[in-house]
C-alpha cells in the first residue's frame, strides 16, 4: 500500500513543481472558451439553442481532464526514456501497485486541472444553473480522469518510444475529443456521427458534466456514470495487464 501512496505522491509533486506547464496547459481551454464561446455564440443563439458559452464550458472542462489524464499515463514513456521506470520495475513491489499508484496520481492531477478550468470558465462568464449539483460534476470529472488515465497507461506500456506519440495524438486523443459532443449537441446528428459519438467514452463524461452543470443532458446521469464505470474498469484491467508485461 505504501508503494501506491509514494508513487501517487510522486505524480503530485512533479505536477505541482511544473508551474510553467500548468499555466501553459490553461491556455488551450481559455482559447476554446473565448474563440468558440464567443465566436460561435451568435449562430448558436440564432438557432435557438441558447448561450454557446454555457453549452461549451462543460465540454472544455471535460477536455482538460481528458488531456491531462491521458498524457499523465503516456508519461510512462518519459520515465522509460529518462530511466526512472527501471527503478520501479526492479523494486520488490507488485507491478499492479505501481500501476495503481501512477494511475491514481494521474487522475488526481487531471481532476485538479479540471477544477482550475472551472474557475477559468466562471471568470469568463460561465454560470452553473444549479450550484448544488457541483459534487455530481466532480464525480464525473473523477470518472473521466480514471477512464483516460488508465487508457494512457495502456498506451504508455505498449509504446516503446516517442515515435508513436504523434500517431496517438492525431488518431486517438483528438478524435476522442472531437467526437464526444464537447463542441456540439448530440441531437439531429448524421447517422455516422451518431454511431461515433455513442462509441466514444468521453461522450458520456461530457454529457454527465453538462447534466450536472447546466441541467441539459442527453442521457440520464445514471446511464453516463454506469457506462464510464464499466469502461473505466475495463481500461484499468487492460492497463494492469499491459503494465505487468513491460520489459526493458
Amino acid at each position: 500500500m505504501s508503494a501506491i501512496y509514494i508513487l501517487w505522491l510522486r505524480e503530485i509533486k512533479r505536477y505541482s513543481r511544473s508551474r510553467a506547464q500548468i499555466i501553459a496547459s490553461l491556455g488551450q481551454p481559455l482559447l476554446y472558451l473565448l474563440a468558440l464561446g464567443f465566436g460561435l455564440g451568435p449562430v448558436f443563439q440564432r438557432a435557438g439553442q441558447g448561450s454557446y458559452l454555457q453549452f461549451v464550458a462543460p465540454g472544455v472542462i471535460g477536455m482538460s481532464v481528458l488531456f491531462t489524464s491521458i498524457f499523465s499515463g503516456i508519461g510512462l514513456l518519459w520515465d522509460r526514456q529518462f530511466g526512472f521506470l527501471k527503478e520501479t520495475l526492479v523494486a520488490p513491489v507488485p507491478r499492479l501497485h505501481i500501476m495503481i499508484g501512477r494511475t491514481l496520481g494521474g487522475a488526481t492531477i487531471a481532476i485538479f486541472q479540471g477544477l482550475l478550468v472551472i474557475v477559468i470558465c466562471l471568470l469568463v462568464g460561465f454560470r452553473s444553473t444549479n450550484a448544488a449539483t457541483l459534487p455530481l460534476g466532480v464525480l464525473f470529472m473523477i470518472l473521466i480522469s480514471l477512464v483516460f488515465a488508465a487508457l494512457g497507461t495502456v498506451i504508455g506500456s505498449r509504446l516503446q518510444n516517442m515515435q508513436g506519440f504523434q500517431l496517438i495524438m492525431n488518431f486517438l486523443v483528438m478524435p476522442i475529443y472531437f467526437l464526444s459532443g464537447a463542441l456540439y449537441p448530440l441531437n439531429n446528428l448524421p447517422m455516422g456521427l451518431v454511431l461515433a459519438t455513442r462509441l466514444d467514452p468521453l461522450t458520456y463524461g461530457i454529457d454527465g458534466l453538462r447534466g450536472a452543470f447546466i441541467g441539459a443532458a442527453h442521457f440520464s446521469a445514471a446511464t453516463d456514470a454506469a457506462v464510464l464505470g464499466v469502461i473505466g474498469a475495463i481500461f484499468l484491467a487492460l492497463g494492469a495487464q499491459s503494465f505487468a508485461k513491460i520489459q526493458i
Binding site: R10, G83, F84, K86, E87, V90, P92, R158, Q247
Partner: protein, 263 residues
C-alpha cells in the same frame, strides 16, 4: 555457496543472439568483474539476472532463487546501478532516496538514519534538498549508488558505473565499493570498460565476447593465460582489436524497430 549462479544462459532478439550460452559463478562476498567489448552481452546478462528480461533458455540463481519464478524475493536481495541514469530528475535527492526506501519497505526510522548515513558517505547530504536535474554527472552516479545500498542488498550490480566520470570521482567510487565489500560483505558484480578499474578492485574476472564467456579467472590468471603483462593486453588478446560499435548499433536498431510496438 555461490551468490550468483548462471548456467548456459541464452537470450535471442529475433535473429540476434545477444547472450549465447553463458555460464559462471560468483561466490558470496566476492567482487566479480564482467568485461567485454560493446554489444558483447554484458547488459543483457545483467537485465536477466535482475528480473528485467526473461531469458530464452538456461538457468540462473541469485542467492539460490530463480529470478523468473521468485522475482519478488530476488529483487529484495540486490541493489543495482544501471548503465543509464534512473533517477527522477524532478524530485530532490532526498526524495529519490526516500521513494526507494518506501518501495523496498525499509521502516521509516531505519530509512531516515540510513539515508543520512549514505548521503553523508557519498558527500551528498549538503545537497539533499536540491532537485536532481541540477546535479553533475558524478553526483548523480554517487546518488544512484547510495540509493542502491539503502535496502542493505546482498548483491550490488554495477553496470559501467564510472562511465563519463572524472578520475577523481572514479577513484572515490571504487574506494567506497571496496570498503562496502570489506566491511559489509556485499557481493559486487560489475561491468566496466576501464581495465585498470577491474584490475584494481575485482577478485575474479570473466571476459565475454559475442555472447560467450571466452575466459575467466583472476587478473593474474588471465595475464598468464595470454602471456601478456597487463589486463588491457590480455583483454585485447582474448577479444581481438576490431571495433564493435557498428555491429552492435545495427543490432540495437533492429531490436528497437521490432520492439516499437509490443504485442
Amino acid at each position: 555457496m555461490s551468490m550468483i549462479h548462471v548456467d548456459n544462459l541464452v537470450k535471442t532478439f529475433g535473429e540476434v543472439k545477444a547472450v549465447d550460452g553463458v555460464s559462471f559463478d560468483v561466490a558470496a562476498g566476492e567482487i566479480f568483474a564482467f568485461l567485454g567489448p560493446n554489444g558483447a552481452g554484458k547488459t543483457t546478462t545483467i537485465q536477466m539476472l535482475t528480473t528485467l528480461l526473461a531469458p530464452t533458455s538456461g538457468t540462473m540463481a541469485i542467492d539460490g532463487l530463480d529470478p523468473r519464478r521468485q522475482p519478488h524475493e530476488v529483487r529484495r536481495r540486490f541493489g543495482i546501478v544501471f548503465q543509464d541514469p534512473s533517477l527522477d530528475g524532478e524530485l530532490t535527492a532526498y526524495e529519490n532516496m526516500d521513494l526507494h526506501g518506501v518501495l523496498y519497505s525499509v521502516p521509516r526510522k531505519t530509512r531516515v538514519e540510513r539515508i543520512q548515513r549514505l548521503m553523508t558517505l557519498f558527500e551528498l547530504w549538503e545537497r539533499r534538498d536540491s532537485v536532481v536535474k541540477t546535479f553533475s554527472g558524478g553526483m548523480k552516479r554517487r546518488l544512484e549508488i547510495a540509493r542502491g545500498l539503502l535496502h542493505t542488498p546482498k548483491i550490488l550490480f554495477l553496470d559501467e558505473p564510472t562511465l563519463g566520470l572524472d578520475p577523481q570521482s572514479r577513484n572515490q567510487l571504487w574506494t567506497h565499493v571496496k570498503h562496502l565489500n570489506e566491511t559489509e560483505g556485499v557481493t559486487v558484480f560489475l561491468t566496466t570498460h576501464y581495465m585498470d578499474e577491474a584490475d584494481r578492485v575485482a577478485q575474479r574476472i570473466a571476459i565475454i565476447d559475442h555472447g560467450h564467456v571466452v575466459a575467466q579467472g583472476s587478473s593474474q590468471d588471465l595475464k598468464t593465460q595470454t602471456k601478456t603483462d597487463s589486463l588491457e593486453h590480455a583483454f585485447l588478446a582474448l577479444t581481438g582489436t576490431t571495433i564493435r560499435d557498428e555491429r552492435a548499433d545495427a543490432a540495437d536498431q533492429m531490436r528497437q524497430v521490432a520492439k516499437m510496438w509490443r504485442r
